[in-house]
């Protein structure tokens, strides 16, 4: 499944360039402590977090995540969205908690 298909199936809001939409999704990682995320996640995962400041884009790109999902209604600031677009990184947002969002991802076979 790619990011665009994920957004369609979940109904989560998607902000992404065409390149970012076509990234394949393999697994998911939940975390708000950036070093923990850096040290324990895997490439191509969906990253679920409530941290929405600019630095998360650097973490996601360095870790080669397929996309970031901001959970619990967290809306990233415009500078975060702009940077994500610049880096061809897809951003999704949902009002679900990280747990609920993971349940959805699991049911979709992510």
């Amino acid at each position: 499944m790619n990011v665009e298909q994920l957004a369609t199936k979940t109904g989560w809001s998607l902000y992404a360039s065409d390149d970012a939409k076509s990234r394949d999704v393999h697994g998911a990682f939940v975390g708000d402590l950036l070093s923990w995320v850096m040290g324990n996640s895997c490439p191509d995962q969906v990253w679920l977090t409530v941290q929405a400041h600019l630095n998360v884009i650097a973490v996601a790109c360095l870790r080669d995540f397929s996309c970031i999902v901001f959970v619990q209604g967290v809306q990233p600031p415009q500078e975060t969205l702009d940077k994500a677009m610049e880096e061809d990184l897809a951003i999704l947002t949902t009002n679900l908690t990280a747990y609920e969002a993971c349940c959805v991802l699991h049911d979709l076979g992510v």
Partner: protein, 138 residues
């Protein structure tokens, strides 16, 4: 041998990760294998963040030798690490409340750097800390 240098400013959280992103881009362009590149990205980011959070600033140097092996040197100008053993303990951190609020300060920085690099050397005194890490490509 190719060498690049980058400055890192104290508490410049806005630019945190910028040097690491540049390093990753440079190494990707010269064809460093993806698996090695990912380890370098982790180590470089952690060390860059440490300089921003804990030091008075400093310089990151990237060296690539003729075989493509990579050396990264993170040299700051102080104040040094008072207890290296504690600093290398997973989960131990002296990060400020501001840094923690942004998700930094998990106490995993040096641990992650040491884990993913092929060699790790840390020299510290009140006048500065220098971390040298290497990655073998061959």
């Amino acid at each position: 041998m190719i060498t690049y240098s980058f400055n890192v400013e104290k508490e410049n959280f806005v630019d945190a990760g910028v040097v690491s992103s540049k390093v990753k881009r440079i190494l990707k362009q010269i064809g460093i294998p993806t698996a090695v590149l990912r380890n370098i990205a982790v180590a470089c980011y952690e060390a860059e963040i440490n300089m921003i959070i804990h030091s008075y600033g400093g310089e990151i140097t990237l060296d690539i030798d003729d075989e493509g092996n990579v050396t990264l040197v993170f040299a700051d100008v102080g104040p040094g690490i008072p207890d290296v053993e504690k600093a290398l303990t997973p989960g131990w951190s002296t990060a400020s409340a501001q840094a923690r609020q942004l998700g930094f300060g998990a106490g995993m920085g040096l641990v992650n750097i040491k884990r993913v690099s092929d060699t790790f050397d840390l020299q510290t005194s009140p006048s500065g800390t220098t971390i040298t890490i290497t990655f073998r490509v061959a």
